[in-house]
Symmetry: C2
Subunit: 193 residues, 2 copies
Amino acid sequence: MRILAFGDSFVLGAGDPDHLGWIGRALAGRREVTLYNLGVRRETSADIAGRWPAEAQPRLVDHEPMRLVFSFGCNDCNLEGGAVRVPAAKSLLNARAMLTEGARLCPVLMVGPPPAAEADVAIRAEALNEHLKVLCARLQVPFIDVFRPLAADGLWTREAAEWDGAHPGAAGYQRMADLVAAHPAWRAFTAPS
Amino acid sequence: MRILAFGDSFVLGAGDPDHLGWIGRALAGRREVTLYNLGVRRETSADIAGRWPAEAQPRLVDHEPMRLVFSFGCNDCNLEGGAVRVPAAKSLLNARAMLTEGARLCPVLMVGPPPAAEADVAIRAEALNEHLKVLCARLQVPFIDVFRPLAADGLWTREAAEWDGAHPGAAGYQRMADLVAAHPAWRAFTAPS
């Protein structure tokens, strides 16, 4: 199986001293899974929507099961020049386009955004997380919600505050990986076919 | 610092149960380093030459030191329909183009190919490794030779033979990572500026 993961710095695992991120950690021990980590720092849903088809193309093959993971949202909710980088309605349009086009190629799964450290960003990200969940239900794309468990737990945001304000360390990424790996949707999505 | 690593399945770390590959392992503990692993399975120097500028573009930033790593060669030496996939002369032209264009953007380093399991591929890969070393010396690009140490050691090829014939496991990738991480060229290349 080959998994292509498109998203932002959280997918990439920025700040993880082990260079794994939550997705590398969620796939620990699965050596038969080829992971293409295509997270890019600072990218919004618009950036990812513009980039993913070209980067998927050389990585897709016919002779092995393929999977597409999308995870984004926090950067959409950040401010730039006083305005939200991507308004929620546009984030949802971008998500719908990616999930719909992705599902034509292979099974698709979405992981919602983790909590942000700044209060105003966190409020917008939490709302976007809920909207993305509803969108995914409508599109019949499995959605894994990590926002509330990570926010309630506090480890993620505490590690982020101690580092660069946004990215946790090994323990925070592991906590998110554990949430994802234990989710029935992830287990079905990554089950050997 | 941000490191963009372009190459093949060995850069990607295919078969590594920890999803790190040699480059993730060589950067263990360096959480201030953002690693973009842009290895793609089965790709030759021609494939990478065609893809790397577009994939580098969204990952390059001005506000942090950038580094480019290239590592390829084994797939060039494989046979396809009775012919070598990329003849050595063409491999060297591709390498020269990538290293020259890359060096215009930021410091560049090349890591030579690891040993191949099949005898005829290994002979061609060893010759290509030598040619790439000479090219890099001419271009004043640091080159790290892992071919002979990994071949002499035997762990890499033994693990590969036990798995899919090409890719080692955790120990083989760690051995290559140790060779790279201990090399003065790597230490200078990844030193905090």
